[in-house]
């Protein structure tokens, strides 16, 4: 009787091959996860390599072979969890202990789209069904181990990948080389179940023609002098890292408020270094052309200088008790869906000249991130890491080049588009949001150029925004801002 063992990598459709062979005439085959490791552990404890009959008998029993069985085998998971050393030890032990045994290595086709995650992954979401699958480093290592062992034992091992199984004319002769006869009826009965599985996967991605791909330019990476040296492309990083997007966070979709436009500013009193928010609002009062839209301040506490009757400026309390990042994420989710169009602002952004909604319709960017993803992913800065992951996730969904939209300027978000982002992506608590939004929706964009300054000593004519960090908010800059926006806004308490 011919004996074989199928070794599979994760999601390689081992079940399918088992079904095919179990239905083949004269063949018995079954899943026996873990059997090999247990058998080898027993053998190790005995201090010798088992005699062949003991191994083949165990396989025959696990496969359910009967008197008429001409070939029998089992399928087991890839066993080299500790790496090549484990794998080569187990596989060599098998071949040495049963001289007539053959190994079938079944791996997932690395170019294959995800087919079977609905059954095997707890992180499955239907949209994976339409994504190009990515092979993780661990799986690539496993496949390499299989290829290496096949090189060492070419006639006693066989390499198959999941795509081979889907074509009868491909898989039949391969198995026949090991003496395993597969007939078309057995193959069709097994493959029919796969077809059924595939039908259960619902595509969620918007139709291709709804995405304006022309607005997503393939930009040249922008580097600094310190960036010299070959940088990995986004494709290369994605292949190496093998990130699979996480399930989107659960959230309750808010009712539409009917507010056409609003400005939203998250604000945390404890993080304020000065009266940034008060002056940012004064700049809006002076320069923002839409003088009717509400301005929402989202945070754990109301600004003390905000009048009780604050007119268009309204305060929305946000729960920050579970941490700053979660609180900010909550503010982002509420703020970006509170009106049909939202200008997402920060308290350290000031308008320097008259502007309005039309000035935000073309997003601004600070170069292309593609060549920087590898470095961002290993950054000690969590915000940078989140941005790097955003690039990989977008790449996973077919976005070939990702721009840096995080420019510390106001961002225009449309409610429906924001909801789509929340439904589709697992947004980090901090970082990457604007990249997901504009990257996914292909927002028209332009380089930021001289639209933003971080000081008031020399302001170019094109500059619309002033933005500073905590570090650059010097006493001189505070004085210049206070002088420039000295007129109190109507929503401030007197004095």
């Amino acid at each position: 009787m011919k004996t074989f063992v199928i070794i599979t990598t994760p999601r390689a459709r081992g079940d399918l091959l088992v079904r095919m062979l179990a239905a083949a005439p004269g063949c018995a085959c079954a899943n026996a996860d873990g059997l090999l490791k247990k058998a080898k552990a027993f053998d190790d404890s005995m201090g010798a390599i088992a005699v062949g009959s003991a191994v083949t008998s165990a396989i025959a029993a696990a496969a359910g072979s009967t008197a008429g069985t001409r070939a029998c085998g089992i399928a087991d998971r890839y066993a080299g969890h500790e790496g090549w050393r484990d794998a080569v030890g187990l596989w060599s032990w098998l071949l040495l202990s049963a001289p007539d045994l053959h190994l079938i290595f079944l791996s997932r086709d690395q170019a294959e789209t995800e087919l079977s995650m609905e059954a095997t992954s707890r992180r499955w979401v239907p949209s994976y069904g339409t994504c190009a699958g990515k092979a993780g480093k661990r799986m690539i290592d496993q496949v390499r181990s299989m290829e290496d062992f096949h090189l060492m034992n070419p006639t006693r091992t066989m390499l198959l990948d999941s795509s081979d199984l889907l074509h009868f004319d491909m898989v039949r002769p391969r198995l026949a080389a090991l003496g395993l006869e597969l007939d078309r009826a057995a193959w069709e009965s097994a493959i029919a179940l796969v077809t059924h599985d595939r039908k259960t996967i619902a595509a969620e991605r918007p139709p291709h023609d709804e995405i304006d791909w022309d607005l997503i330019p393939v930009a040249e990476p922008v580097g600094r002098a310190s960036d010299v040296g070959p940088a990995e492309t986004l494709d290369e990083v994605a292949q190496r890292v093998g990130l699979v997007p996480g399930r989107p966070r659960r959230f309750v979709e808010p009712e539409r408020t009917g507010i056409p436009r609003a400005i939203c500013i998250p604000w945390l009193a404890s993080a304020a270094k000065w009266e940034e928010l008060k002056h940012a609002l004064r700049s809006i009062d002076r320069h923002w052309s839409d003088r009717e839209c509400p301005i929402f301040i989202l945070g754990p506490e109301r600004p003390q200088w905000l009048a009780e009757d604050s007119g268009r400026v309204k305060f929305i309390p946000i729960d920050y008790t579970r941490g700053k990042r979660r609180g900010l994420h909550e503010a982002f989710r509420i703020g970006t869906t509170i009106a049909d169009e939202v200008a997402w602002w920060n308290d350290d952004i000031y308008l320097l000249k008259d502007a309005g909604w039309e000035d935000l319709r073309v997003a601004v960017t600070e170069g292309c991130l593609d060549g920087k993803v590898s470095r961002m992913l290993t950054s000690p800065n969590g915000w940078q890491r989140a941005l790097g992951e955003a690039c990989l996730v977008l790449h996973h969904y077919g976005i070939k080049s990702v721009m840096r939209f995080a420019t510390h300027t106001p961002y225009l978000f449309e409610r429906e588009k924001s909801l789509e982002i929340f439904r589709k992506f697992r947004l980090p608590f901090k970082g990457g949001w604007v990249t997901y939004y504009h990257g996914w929706h292909g927002t028209p964009h332009q380089p930021i150029g001289r639209l933003k300054v971080n000081q008031l000593t020399r302001v170019p004519a094109e500059a619309i925004f002033l933005n500073h960090s905590d570090r650059t908010l010097t006493a001189g800059l505070k004085a210049a801002i206070a002088e420039r926006f000295s007129t109190p806004a109507p929503w401030e308490l007197p004095g």
């Binding site: 090549w84 484990d86 030890g89 060599s92 032990w93 290496d148 060492m152 034992n153």
Partner: protein, 214 residues
């Protein structure tokens, strides 16, 4: 003639390729794994286990003497026995013969490395004398790299034919990763080629380069 290669799990693939090249060159490869290594099966290749300590990458009195005893045992019935490395490619055995009554044939860098372990041949009937000398003279506490120490014993027990490294006529060479020569040309030119993973090359690079020769 037999060629003995000491290998360990990370080098199994390149050792397999080396063994196949040795078979094609007309010799019998024998792979020696350590007693603590997991079992190893390579089709058509004899695998044995050794229990004498390897002290890292083949060092120490115990290893030198253990290796000589093993080579003497395995070489019984043959005039010569060879030792190779996992990352060597053997095209021919011609480099061994025609050098008079020497005890060993090896690659040498006279100034820095008088006897390389990547590929050397020992006359089997001289090995007992080398063992006896080693038992008398080798310091158990010294590091004693296998290749240099074996070369010193061979020199003292009948002499060595040294192929000078990088000399125009030398048939043993390290693979030049910058080379524009195709593998067929190199196979005609050299009897043994070593791929030198230790010079910053990953094992995958070595395996890929060795596959070019198969």
């Amino acid at each position: 003639m037999k060629v003995l290669i000491y290998t360990h799990p990370p080098d199994y693939v390149m050792a397999t390729l080396a063994a196949r090249s040795i078979q094609a060159a007309g010799a019998e490869p024998i792979l020696a794994i350590d007693a603590a290594d997991p079992p190893l099966c390579i089709e058509g290749v004899r695998v044995i286990r050794t229990s004498f300590p390897r002290v890292g990458n083949l060092n120490g009195r115990e290893f030198v003497l253990g290796n000589l005893r093993l080579m003497h045992e395995l070489g019984a019935g043959d005039e010569w026995i060879c030792k190779g490395d996992s990352d060597t490619w053997w095209n021919r055995l011609d480099w061994i013969h025609g050098h008079g009554d020497v005890t060993a044939v090896a690659l040498s860098d006279p100034g820095s490395h008088p006897f390389y372990g990547l590929a050397y041949a020992l006359r089997v009937d001289r090995i007992p004398a080398m063992i006896a000398l080693g038992e008398q003279t080798l310091d158990a506490a010294a590091r004693l790299p296998e290749d240099i120490t074996t070369g010193e014993l061979a020199t003292a027990c009948g002499g060595v034919h040294a192929w000078i490294n990088l000399h125009p006529g030398t048939p043993l060479a390290a693979y030049n990763w910058e080379t524009a020569e195709d593998p067929e040309t190199l196979k005609r030119r050299y009897d043994v080629i070593v791929f030198q993973r230790m010079q910053g090359r990953r094992r995958r690079d070595v395996v890929a380069a060795m596959k070019l020769f198969s």
